[in-house]
Amino acid sequence: MRPRLVRGGLIGVALAFLALCLVMPLVAVFAEAFAKGFEVYWASISEPEARRALWLTAVVAGLSVPLNMTFGIAAAWAIARFRFPGRQLLVTLIDLPFAVSPVISGLIFVLLFGAQSALGPWLEAHDITIIFAIPGIMLATLFVTFPFVARELIPMMEEQGADAEEAAVALGASGVQLFWRVTLPQISWGLMHGVVLLTARAVGEFGAVSVVSGHIRGLTNTAPLHVEILYNEYQFAAAFAVASVLSLFALLSLGLRRAVEWRMAQPR
């Protein structure tokens, strides 16, 4: 009887916690979004500034994914397959964005490329704007999301070992053939998993982007920033409407992630 009680108790606590921290807020987002009816909801997400914010978020995420995918594969391959001086340092550096507060990450770029920085005057002279513009948002998002793919692939590639790759080399495969025919197919599901996490984070990033974006409405506002501005202006229904779009995306990536994880657990 005892173990059953303990088990029941633990499940109860976990479910209660889940309801409080996840289900209720999610329900609240959608309830608030539709509080003033569907027309207000539709108007809130289709007005130009909201559309621009959602579009900017899509562009930033869409560019971050291929860039960090490439970087992640390269870093994971180097770390899992080669022994070189500075390898351990690279492993640590890849984790850095997870360890640093996103606000600090944003601030680093302001200090590097802002008007007051050492590079500032040079950038201004050459008419290059990074901070309070889209390049800054890109940089901040890339920085915050770059560990996802590498973190996913390093343990996977280390576990698989270099056997199959060595076999391919012994059979005469060139470097390019090796990558497309052996390495990539073997890591494809892990890569997919990493990309789902990376996309979710790129879409939802607030802190780092908030610092570098400058919150210029209709110009450098991403969707999460737009939600905050609306909320601060007491436009609750509109804020939650945009938030609900982000939530839908989050649910979608959660489902996708589960599907990929299920597929990874299958043999072969």
Partner: protein
């Protein structure tokens, strides 16, 4: 194609994996590299394949120096211990891999590749499993796929790293016989690594025994077994009793009795070791021979074609003797029986 390795050395950090190894394998020969783990045999094999770069020395294949050539240019087939099959490809595609990655100029046509793969699958008796994936095969089947894959590009040299290491005893014996038969048919120069002395002695034309990155002895299985050149080889090739003894006036003394060991290499009074294989010792119940020593039976294992007896000698050492079933029944040995042990003939002693 012949293999010639000259003065090859490789170091991993502080570990000397290969230490000035020289070796020659004639075209069409089947040679076993035998040694304990860490003896450098796999490293040597990988260097010949081009999967590892030697620190010093050179590798010649058919007289051509390939030390700096890429693996793909060497015309070498390599079979890995854990098969290293491509998990995401079917058996057919695994075997076809080497053919598909060839440069367009020399690549076979689609039909040509198909025919060649089917021919190879027939050779390794897997033609019915072409559409399966590696995870759906048994260990023995996977190893045969790995072999077919390596043979697909018609290598002049076949290198096998512990080819049967991960298989159970039954499958292992079958595959061993099958590999020998395959070699008789194809006559590809073959070099395989093993730590199993039985496997090396049964399969090879010649055996190379390695120890701590060096070659200890090279010879036919018969030669290395019966005339081992170093103490390590004696101990490595099967069970052996080691007697610590001293030599005086050209005679070797073990405990009290003298054993007339060959002493040409020993200085008088120098402490030496004498090696005797268990099947070359005999047990008797009474005193019949001046070369006998006393012992007491500790353990008897009669399960098997021979009876393994473990005894404690009068000076307290453990001695192992192998008896025939008939001899064992004749003696009626039990733990505790006091007996006399003597070598069957004088030439059974190997000193080192």
């Amino acid at each position: 194609m012949s293999i010639e390795v000259q003065d090859l050395s490789k170091r991993f950090g502080t570990f000397q994996a290969a230490d000035a190894v020289s070796l020659q394998v004639a075209s069409g020969e089947l040679v076993g590299l035998l040694g304990p783990s860490g003896s450098g045999k796999t490293t040597l094999l990988r260097m010949i394949a081009g999967l590892e770069t030697p620190d010093r020395g050179s590798i010649l294949l058919a007289g051509r120096d390939v030390t700096r050539s890429r693996a793909a240019e060497r015309g070498v087939g390599f079979v890995f211990q854990h098969y290293a099959l491509f998990r995401h490809l079917s058996v057919f595609e695994n075997v076809a891999f080497g053919l598909r990655v060839q440069p367009a100029k020399v690549r076979l046509s689609k039909q040509g590749i198909k025919d060649r793969v089917q021919e190879l699958l027939r050779l390794v008796q897997l033609e019915t499993l072409a559409e399966r994936y590696p995870s759906q095969l048994s260990g023995g089947q996977r190893q045969r796929v790995a072999l077919a894959r390596a043979l697909a590009v018609e290598p002049k040299i076949l290198l096998l790293d512990e080819p049967f290491g991960a298989l159970d005893a039954r499958v292992r014996k079958d595959l061993r016989r099958w590999l020998r038969a395959l070699h008789e048919r194809l006559h590809v120069t073959t070099l395989f690594v093993t730590h199993d002395q039985e496997e090396a002695l049964e399969l090879s034309d010649r055996v190379v025994i390695m120890h701590q990155g060096r070659v200890e002895q090279v010879g036919t299985p018969e030669a290395v077994y019966h005339s081992p050149s170093t103490a390590f080889v004696v101990e490595f090739l099967g069970d052996v009793n080691i007697f610590h003894c001293r030599t005086e006036d050209g005679r070797t003394y073990i405990g009290a009795p003298s054993l007339d060991a060959p002493t040409d290499r020993q200085q008088d009074a120098a402490p030496t070791r004498v090696f005797v294989r268990p099947h070359l010792l005999d047990i008797s119940l009474g005193w019949t021979d001046s070369r006998q020593f006393r012992a007491a039976v500790l353990m008897v294992n009669p399960a098997g074609p021979i009876v393994r007896v473990e005894l404690e000698s009068e000076w307290g050492a453990i001695v192992r003797v192998d008896l025939s079933q008939e001899r064992y029944r004749e003696l009626g040995l039990r733990p505790g029986t006091p007996v006399f042990v003597a070598p069957k003939a004088e030439d059974v002693l190997m000193t080192a």
